[in-house]
Symmetry: C2
Subunit: 209 residues, 2 copies
Amino acid sequence: MSTSTSAALDAGRGPAEHGVRTQIIEAATAHFSHYGYDKTTVSDLAKAIGFSKAYVYKFFSSKQAIGEVICANCLSQIESEVHQALQGVQAPAERLRLLFTVFVEAGLRLFLQDRRLYEIAVAAATDQWPSAQAYEGRIRQLVEDIIKDGRASGAFESTTPLEDTSRAVYQVLLPYLNPVTLPHLAPLHKEAPSALQELVLRSLESRPQ
Amino acid sequence: MSTSTSAALDAGRGPAEHGVRTQIIEAATAHFSHYGYDKTTVSDLAKAIGFSKAYVYKFFSSKQAIGEVICANCLSQIESEVHQALQGVQAPAERLRLLFTVFVEAGLRLFLQDRRLYEIAVAAATDQWPSAQAYEGRIRQLVEDIIKDGRASGAFESTTPLEDTSRAVYQVLLPYLNPVTLPHLAPLHKEAPSALQELVLRSLESRPQ
């Protein structure tokens, strides 16, 4: 347990509760990483921290509720990577390229480096946890915003309906966002890591009528 | 059993042997459909047909070898649907549209109507059985052939390298061919069943330089 966590535990009820939640999340992340999400029960977690099962349930209603927080943390980390990469990049085509590159790379890194935590992402995507649904909604919006900017600047065509075209581009990206589908597509993606985004960009090019 | 099933069976063996193999495949298809591929053992199959396990092993070296034949039959059925749909259709854009439509529809139908046999397809795709690999290779070639024809006729652009562009188009299609990934993409695909192929076709359009 970190010093800040201990300090929070000793403070008033609000911060103390926050501290216990943090402590459970930290322990669960370590436990899930080591034993896997599927094989860990709330009892295992409680035992590992030295809490009673009932006490853990005071803070989280289920194992999924704990997984949700870990999943949301993980997804928001990927999202900040994307936003960081997009910072200062103005050209819509370049922004779309970065969007594809960073999401795919982050997903592959998560898959290859942290298989155990990956299980949580798989559960989240398969059972459509709220955190995963919200994440997908935000990315879909991000794609639409970039295409809208590209249309406004004249870089992208404006003859097709914005909503349809944005959905289609998102649909090309989606298999690389989903942790279940990504591993099945990784070998082909590796053959030519930029092929997909260049195809999408050619489809968006503005052209003389 | 359909004619294509019989045709897919090993040629060059005696008629009696051929008959026993057919009998095992028929029983296995029924058994897998009912109990699932994962839960069925070679012993279960042998018992169901009234053969000894050793006798079944004289014809097939493993459960996977039986699954391979069923899988190959199933895939070749989807392929004949595609070739039938393409018959008489000349325009490369229309051929590509049909390719996407028929493959996705056939995959969804298999998934929705025959969950138990779907398990075999999942095992084949996940463990990259030879039948699945050969199937993917043939589809990749089919995509390249259509794009080549489109370039020759002037319908598609010819400025990008054929191999790269064909791979990229196949990469857009692949998540809808793979039985593991398809169910995760089906809801978005349903929102706009032709979005993906129209995006691909826009990317292929020939345009003035």
